[in-house]
């Protein structure tokens, strides 16, 4: 990737709402160049989606989502290995992240729901009952400290003297 592409990508990764104007001025390129570049990264599928990091604690009571991290062990299938099973799991709306991992289990699946019950029933009715899923271990997330490289619940930053030499 050329350095300008990489820098544009780094800026929108850190702040998806940064305007093309601001990106252009920071990188000393034209606004048109930024827009062409972003469009091409989008059509190539390099940029898949712009999302937001939310601190659910700050939302009004009960409107936040509940998240769990599920270790899934499977029996790989003839010919398709992990792929066919993975496709079945990843399609569920409750699944927000899904990875094949090395180590003691096969898939790390992160699911989200409105309540504990919703997630429990998703695990027992949908996930555990898929053919060739051998076992699951569900860990409910109790507190979020950091997401996508961003610390959650940090105190505000400005402690500097307003004028200094």
């Amino acid at each position: 990737m050329n350095p300008i592409d990489a820098q544009v990508l780094a800026l929108v990764t850190a702040n998806a709402r940064m305007s093309s104007d601001d990106i252009a001025d920071q990188l000393q390129i034209s606004v048109a160049q930024v827009e062409i570049l972003l469009k091409s990264l989008e059509t190539q599928g390099v940029i898949v989606q712009y999302t937001t990091v939310v601190d659910e604690k700050k939302l009004p009571q009960r409107s936040g989502k509940i998240k769990a991290l599920i270790e899934v062990s499977v029996r790989p299938e003839k010919r398709t290995g992990f792929e066919a099973i993975a496709k079945k799991i990843a399609q569920f709306n409750n699944v927000v992240d899904h990875y094949l991992v090395s180590g003691g289990y096969d898939f790390l699946v992160i699911v989200e729901g409105d309540s504990l019950e919703e997630i429990s029933s998703f695990v027992s009715d949908k996930l555990a009952s898929i053919d060739n899923v051998r076992s699951t271990a569900t860990h409910f997330i109790m507190k979020k400290y950091k997401e996508k490289g961003i610390l959650i619940g940090q105190p505000p930053k400005e402690e500097r003297l307003a004028v200094s030499p």
Binding site: D22, Q26, K157, A162, S164
Partner: protein, 385 residues
């Protein structure tokens, strides 16, 4: 008798920055472009090593010159990063920031009446500290060479009493860096007339358009060079108070003599933190540098667009817009901008000759605040028409 204080001290006016600070403190909803420090916290790996050193009970004095392990780590870093080579046992002393280093270096070399050339506008501590050390400042106005010290002008200022020149590149307040050729020419003058080059390189890591040139890395100049650097800016460690001076053993021995009586040693926790900083934090420094560079580009371009002519500075995190066409003095401009639009900047006159007609803006502040500051400055400029 008690009412008779130090006479030299009483001739030195209080810092113009201090005066402005007192005004800003009372004001509400102010966006400050008046700061002189990073807007990052110290990288966590550095803080964590400092905490670990405390857990290990490392709370004693260190040797006067600083922990050998820390001096070695810094010397290795200077060699790798800037091609400046020093002996960790005799050619480096750890100090309370570059601030203490400036003070004790001047006190080590100056006798009453010795002259120190200071290209201005310059960082605010040089002149008072020269005076307190009994020296005489020969200020040079660098306006006509776009704030880059001019070897011809320096040559004309040299007298038999010239003991040193103080260079600061990248510069506070202008952000300009001194090109290699110019440094070589100044170096020739220093060798021919046998005076010191005191080079304050505290912003060396914050150079945006090419590699940084240390004076200490120029051929044959090491014996004439007193290198000052520190952790405040590059590693976002202003509050830790750690800097260092590198130079010939005979100079370091003398600076150490003062330091042992007036400071004893630099803070030990900061020294342990510094080891991690120079050994393992190049990536953090790079990320901060990239971030400042983007803000510099945006802020300086837009200052020009709203009618404040501003040269693109090569380093540090300051720019130095020209405000002469507004007809206001730098102090009036800064005071009115603060009062009418709640943006704090530092009036240029506080930085000495050539500073008048300019304001210093620090862009080490969030992008949204910078944009809001630009909006307010634009309104202010409109109101002047």
């Amino acid at each position: 008798m008690k009412s008779d204080f130090s006479h030299i001290l009483d001739t030195i006016p209080p810092s113009g920055i201090r005066k402005f600070f007192d005004l800003v403190i009372g004001a509400k909803d102010v966006i400050s472009l008046g700061v002189g420090e990073p807007d990052f916290r110290t990288p966590w790996a550095i803080r964590e090593d400092a905490i670990f050193s405390l857990e290990q009970g490392k709370t004693s004095y260190t040797s006067n010159s600083g922990l050998l392990e820390c001096r070695e780590a810094i010397v290795d870093y200077l060699a790798q990063r800037f091609d400046a080579h020093y002996d960790p046992t005799t050619e480096i002393l750890l100090t309370f920031g570059v601030s203490e280093a400036v003070d004790i270096v001047l006190r080590s070399i100056l006798n009453p009446g010795d002259e120190v050339i200071v290209p201005e506008p310059s960082y605010v501590c040089y002149t008072p500290l020269v005076q307190l050390a009994g020296g005489k400042v020969i200020p040079l106005d660098t306006t006509s060479t776009q704030f880059i010290p001019d070897p011809d002008q320096i040559a004309r200022a040299i007298t038999p009493k010239t003991k040193a020149i103080i260079l600061c590149s990248p510069s506070n307040p202008t952000g300009r860096t001194i090109p290699k050729d110019t440094l070589i020419q100044i170096g020739k003058l220093a060798q021919a007339h046998d005076f010191w080059i005191i080079t304050d390189e505290v912003y060396a890591e914050l150079t945006y358009d090419g590699p940084f040139q240390s004076v200490a890395a120029l051929p044959n100049l090491k014996p004439s060079t007193i290198l000052l650097n520190g952790f405040s800016k590059a590693f976002a460690m202003t509050g830790w108070r750690l800097g260092y001076v590198c130079g010939p053993p005979e100079l370091i021995a003398r600076a150490t003599k003062i330091h042992q009586y007036s400071a004893l040693c630099a803070p030990i926790t900061a020294q342990y933190a510094a080891i991690e900083a120079v050994k393992n934090c190049a990536k953090d420094v790079q990320a901060m540098r990239d971030s400042y560079k983007g803000r510099r580009n945006l802020f300086v371009k837009r200052l020009n667009e709203i009618g404040l002519p501003t040269a693109l500075p090569e380093g540090a995190f300051y720019c130095f817009p020209n405000i002469r066409h507004t007809g206001l003095s730098s102090e009036e401009f800064a005071l009115r901008l603060l009062k009418e639009q709640r943006v704090a900047v530092v009036p240029g006159y506080v930085f000495g000759l050539g500073g008048e007609g300019h304001i210093r803006c620090c862009y080490a502040t969030g992008l949204e605040e910078l944009k809001e500051a630009l909006t307010r400055i634009k309104k202010f400029m409109k109101s002047l028409q």
